[in-house]
Symmetry: C2
Subunit: 108 residues, 2 copies
DNA sequence: TTATTATATGAACACTTATTCATATAAGTC
DNA sequence: GACTTATATGAATAAGTGTTCATATAATAA
């Protein structure tokens, strides 16, 4: 655990290119309503592709494409169970960002 | 100030359309490297358009367009001083999201 | 093996978006 | 007034994105 004081040695100069890329990629991932809905559902519980499809009224293809997107960014993980594949969140930092944003949007 | 306990009555069911729109708009705003750089600079200190242009090596037009975008979402505010217009952040929630994301990107 | 079920994938398309260029507006100076 | 400086804006363009359709893959059951 870090100490409580803000880190005064850390300045706010220009961000390096890699950080900029990671941060923008992360926010882009959260910048689409479909992906938000999927992540919000997965936050509740692990789901198979078909469950996501059904619950959110999205085509199987759309869900699969978006899950690939989220998987590439390591925002979700998956496990196989027979012919089904169950997805769940895999980045607690990003999920925390999402929940904060949702909370603010609901209460402001 | 709210109490410390997580709100157990709040469930994670489907988000309403308005919340979904606000959240996705917010994250879209943070999903572009140029806007991230601008907000990160403004976090340090209030800047005129030309200062942003110079510091970030962006055209005046690009900066102006992006500031309009951020202004429309009420993420920045501005004040006039002669012919210059000084911009600064206007949404501490969103700035907090940005700082968190940057922090995570730098340290993971 | 064949058939079925669940998921993934590639191509096409419509739509969105970030930047540039040219120009407009607005305040200050002479 | 004319001129300069700072910023805003509209149109055009190139690049990116989300969905759909058709099809492929993979596991299972018969």
């Amino acid at each position: 655990m870090d100490n409580e004081r803000p880190n005064l040695t850390e300045d706010d100069t220009e961000l390096d290119e890699e950080t900029l890329f990671i941060v923008s990629q992360t926010f882009k991932a959260l910048g689409d309503p479909t992906r938000i809905r999927i992540l919000n559902l997965l936050a509740e519980r692990e789901c198979a592709v078909s469950e996501i499809s059904d619950k959110l009224h999205l085509s199987q293809s759309t869900v699969s494409h978006q899950l690939r997107f989220l998987k590439n960014l390591r925002l979700v993980k998956f496990r196989r169970a027979g012919t089904s594949i169950y997805y769940s969140p895999d980045d607690q930092h990003v999920m925390a960002l999402l929940h904060q944003a949702i909370h603010h949007a609901c209460h402001d």
